[in-house]
């Protein structure tokens, strides 16, 4: 730990926002490996492991977890700063399903034995978790999921299929939503269960995405047996727990950073072609910058609410809807600007800063994952506008 003595605090929340921001910046500059900064794709475990272990050893891996469980115990205000600085810096994203979803799930709903067993192994990098939610016939309509767990003596027997499972190939555990009561209303028969990926009957098949990356996979369960104790929280309460896990962190789906980084890339591209002063470019670029600035105002308005202890309602969906739309429009224009260079399979001249296709593909996914834009609009229409 001594190597990271400069980046510790008895209470990070007691630091001023400025001081904490400065600390996060210094931490990143001093410790983040150069070669994986601003990665063009989601990194696999062998590539990102060194950074994960640095975060782990420094105690900076689990910013939102309480101190007692080995986290940084950051308040909402400090957490906003943490993520803002990490995204600005272009820090590589670690396999964070265990950190962001399973950890809070166990902390809030898990048994003492589950917390003691699993949390330290996440922090140590011994367990990498993936999230088993979506299924072929349960995407936007997640509650229609059909993977089922049937109790047989002291074991759950699991059959079914998950899909779009991010980094499943790197994980040794999966936390899955499974049906434990087929007779109940669809939201009321779902439970959380923990399954080792090396259990007999688990098969992983990687899926190549549109950007030709093997970021996600299908996961098949064929008579997979796990101990009865691997169920988290109450039986048939999985849907409610999953919903409650999505607290104010939903604001991060609307962070301006993706679009802001795409905008910076757009300017790089225009400079590369000598078009940065071109009147047509300046007009389009100015429009994006103003949209960006308005989005930041909206983000800050909601962040202020979080900082002052308020609870974000369904209106937070406006942020994701707007950010991903802007992200797409910027990357679509970059592709147009790149002309035939936009047809290339790799970055222009091998320069990662001149890569019109990478952000374009990422932006395609952004309006689909974590609730499509159409689902966000459905939610907003009903919850915010009160439409039938």
């Amino acid at each position: 730990m001594t190597a990271y003595a400069d980046f510790q605090s008895a209470d990070f929340n007691a630091l001023s926002d400025e001081d904490f921001r400065g600390l996060a910046r210094r931490f990143l500059h001093a410790n983040h490996p150069d070669d994986i900064r601003h990665p063009a794709k989601r990194l696999h475990w062998p590539e990102v492991r060194p950074w994960y272990m640095i975060l782990s050893n420094a105690g900076w891996l689990a910013p939102s977890w309480p101190r007692v469980f080995g986290g940084m115990g950051l308040s909402a205000a400090k957490l906003l700063i943490y993520y803002d600085e990490f995204e600005r810096f272009g820090a590589a994203r670690s396999p964070d399903q265990g950190l962001n979803l399973l950890g809070p799930l166990l902390i809030n709903y898990g048994s003492e034995a589950q917390r003691t067993r699993f949390l330290p192994r996440i922090l140590a990098g011994d367990d990498i978790w993936c999230q088993g939610y979506s299924e072929p016939d349960a995407g936007s309509d997640l509650a229609a999921l059909r993977t089922e767990a049937i109790l047989d003596g002291d074991e759950w027997v699991i059959n079914g299929q998950k899909t779009w499972t991010t980094l499943a190939g790197d994980a040794n555990w999966i936390f899955a939503l499974v049906r434990t009561d087929k007779t109940a209303k669809k939201q009321e028969g779902i439970s959380f269960v923990l399954i080792p990926m090396d259990a007999e009957g688990v098969t992983v098949r990687p899926i190549l995405n549109l950007d030709l990356q093997d970021e996600f996979s299908e996961v098949f369960f064929d008579d997979v047996r796990v101990p009865r104790d691997n169920l988290v929280g109450e039986i048939n309460a999985g849907w409610t727990m999953a919903k409650n896990l999505l607290g104010f962190e939903r604001i991060f789906l609307g962070s301006p950073r993706q679009a802001a980084n795409a905008l910076a890339q757009l300017l790089n591209l225009a400079r590369h072609y000598g078009l940065a002063e071109d009147a047509r470019f300046v007009e389009r670029y100015t429009g994006f910058r103003m949209d960006m600035s308005d989005h930041e105002c909206l983000f800050e308005r909601m962040a202020d609410k979080v900082r002052s202890g308020g609870v974000l309602g369904p209106e937070v969906s406006f942020l994701k809807l707007n950010q991903t739309d802007l992200f797409q429009r910027i990357t679509e224009y970059a592709l147009d600007l790149a002309g035939c260079d936009g047809a290339g399979l790799h970055a222009i001249d091998g320069d990662r800063a001149l890569n019109p296709t990478g952000p374009f593909f990422v932006a395609r996914a952004a309006t689909i994952y974590a609730g499509t834009s159409e689902v966000q609009r459905n939610i907003l229409a009903k919850s915010v506008l009160g439409l039938p």
């Binding site: 940065a276 910058r289 600035s293 308005r301 707007n322 039938p388």
Partner: protein, 369 residues
């Protein structure tokens, strides 16, 4: 006549109590917003409708109660007899005026007050005299146009697009070389009236040796204020138009259900609400920046950003409001059309979307936000 102005004295005393404390300040904003309801009620546009076209666009009694409420002195320092509140308070006022489609030239009168002193300022704040600004020559401009000339003690030139000119007792005439006060009945001034879509009018002012006394004022500050207030007016307006439209979607039944149950219309309504929320965030940010650093280029850029957003969003929301109302939306009889017609008059004022985009680009470095 305003229906109830009993809150006027209360509001004024709140406003004048020195609003540096934040609890007091947010209470002030609430009081300001509530005080508008007596003059321009977003739920009842009957008065606004009645003042259109032949209705005069303006009645003195309402104007007097507006002045009694202290609104015209909102941005005038307390040492000069005003209330001395900030941009945030002004935006709250303008937003509510927009929500009620108030036809009174409040923003113009506040702009003029920034150039007045002594008895003229007193009369303006008291409402015994209505003095309005005349500063524009081109159809769209961000600030005072050129083309005014003082020769032999008389003022020469033309100012167009002067809101409510026929109701004015005098004009603050602003050019690039100075500002002057000219009485409306000066023999060297001819006022021609152009009717506008909202049922009001512009005046075209032709000065031919009009007697003019020089004035002083912070041109940049006064015009930024007016630009921001116009943005806030458009914000309130689009918010009210969308609120009415959503109510309509909930009650209008076709195919056996409220049309708001149809996903195509739900999604459109959400997209419009997003524009309203972006406009609100943009205006509030610009107001906070202007209050923190008045006159700074970054603050001015934020004002331009807010005006561009509100101008385009108000147009979008009020056009779509017509579409979502269907056939009834295309009648003059239905109030939803009043919002679009008002946007057509207000959105171009203090600079088009195009001009504000260009100014934003000029004020912000390429990498800046």
């Amino acid at each position: 006549m305003p229906r109830h102005c009993d809150c006027s004295a209360r509001t004024r005393s709140w406003m004048q109590r020195g609003m540096s404390h934040s609890a007091d300040y947010s209470a002030t904003l609430v009081m300001i917003r509530e005080s508008v309801t007596g003059v321009a009620d977003r739920a009842d546009l009957q008065r606004v409708r009645g003042l259109r076209f032949g209705g005069g666009g303006f009645d003195r009694a309402t104007w007097t109660s507006i002045c009694d409420l202290g609104w015209i002195g909102l941005r005038v320092a307390e040492t000069r007899g005003g209330v001395g509140l900030g941009s945030g308070a002004y935006c709250a006022l303008a937003e509510e005026l927009g929500a009620g489609l108030a036809p009174e030239p409040v923003i113009g009168a506040i702009l003029a007050a920034a150039f007045l002193e002594g008895e003229h300022l007193e009369a303006q704040l008291a409402g015994t005299s209505l003095i309005l600004p005349a500063w524009q020559k081109e159809p769209s401009a961000l600030g005072p146009s050129d083309g005014l000339e003082m020769k032999g003690g008389g003022l020469f030139g033309v100012r167009r697009y002067v809101t409510a000119a026929a109701n004015a007792d005098a004009f603050v005439v602003v050019g690039q070389s100075g500002a002057w006060l000219v009485r409306a009945n000066d023999p060297g001034l001819q006022v021609d009236i152009v009717e506008t879509q909202d049922g009001g009018h512009f005046g075209t002012l032709s000065f031919d040796g009009a007697q003019a006394s020089p004035l002083d004022g912070d041109v940049r500050g006064a015009f930024a204020d007016a630009t921001l207030a116009t943005s806030a007016y458009l914000l309130g307006l689009m918010d009210a138009a969308l609120e009415r439209t959503i109510d309509f979607l909930k009650t209008r039944v076709q195919f056996g259900k409220p049309i708001g149950a149809f996903q195509a219309l739900q999604h459109r309504a959400v997209d419009l609400k997003l524009q309203v929320e972006l406009s609100r965030a943009s205006v509030e940010d610009a107001a906070a920046r202007w209050e923190a650093a008045p006159g700074a280029l970054a603050s001015l850029a934020a004002v331009s950003r807010a005006k561009a957003r509100c101008g385009s969003a108000a147009m979008l929301v009020t056009r779509q409001a017509i579409q979502l109302h269907g056939g009834i939306g295309y009648t003059d009889e239905h109030d939803i059309g009043l919002y679009l017609r008002k946007v057509m008059v207000v959105a171009p004022q203090f600079g088009s979307v195009e001009l504000h985009r260009a100014r934003f680009a000029a004020l912000v470095s390429p990498e800046g936000a």
